[in-house]
Symmetry: C2
Amino acid sequence: MNAFQDDYAEHFSHCFGCGKSNPAGLHLKSNWDADNPDATLLRFTPPEIYSGGVPGHVYGGMIASLFDCHGAASAAAFACRAEGRVMGDWNLPGSVFSPVRYVTASLKVDYLRPTPQDVELIVRASLLEMQGFKIRLAMTLHAGETLCARAEMLAARFREKPAEAR
Amino acid sequence: MNAFQDDYAEHFSHCFGCGKSNPAGLHLKSNWDADNPDATLLRFTPPEIYSGGVPGHVYGGMIASLFDCHGAASAAAFACRAEGRVMGDWNLPGSVFSPVRYVTASLKVDYLRPTPQDVELIVRASLLEMQGFKIRLAMTLHAGETLCARAEMLAARFREKPAEAR
């Protein structure tokens, strides 16, 4: 099953965090949570270079990045589902659909405790509210069973200008 | 003049964003703002790999990272100043001072508009409130003259365990 980010249109796929077309990037991959149909999930083990100030912990910017990329991708997936569509339907042969892409309007991260390195991190997102072109999500980050950080995101739908106005 | 991060004690200096002892890191450098004695300043031009989804813009995680590293460093500098100390006094020969280091408890970033690449980004922090071991900061990120993002941080002082308790 494609990750949400694999379905992004090519011109939206260059993000360092999660873009398939950024060869130097982290290639973060989000998908539906197999254990909870109302949630999305990202798994990632940050390479050792992404240390925090004290070795053995992940730096704060990485944690924000995981929430940012996973949240924006999840917003697109929740929006597609609410419209009775599936992520990536714009890639189907002969599709009449426009690509769906969300960007972060606001992100609040609560760092609850130091996040250890060398452990797989699990980020989950769930939908709080959908209003017009805006979506609010709640997210958590666990290292194993330990809740290390929490976040709330407001994501806004990217509205492309028609080709003739670009 | 040393950057705040250059004064961090060695065991606090491994952050990917701003640690002098992380050879793979970004080596972000914060200092007092020469034009405003009540503010701190960071200048950084993100390398091209840190693209957002749409090329030509910086990815959201980088923006959060800049606020995170600059905010934590600024909190330490504001705390030292409030105590009549200077950043890095713990490094002076024969110093009796303990290192001051803050970590992020909470960070809220408002992404106001896309942040362009190939432009020097300027992050400023100012003190909102200091209460016990917690400091609240307001920050802005400009690309040239354009305000692209705003943030608020709650930073908490890192309290080292005495050596015998480690």
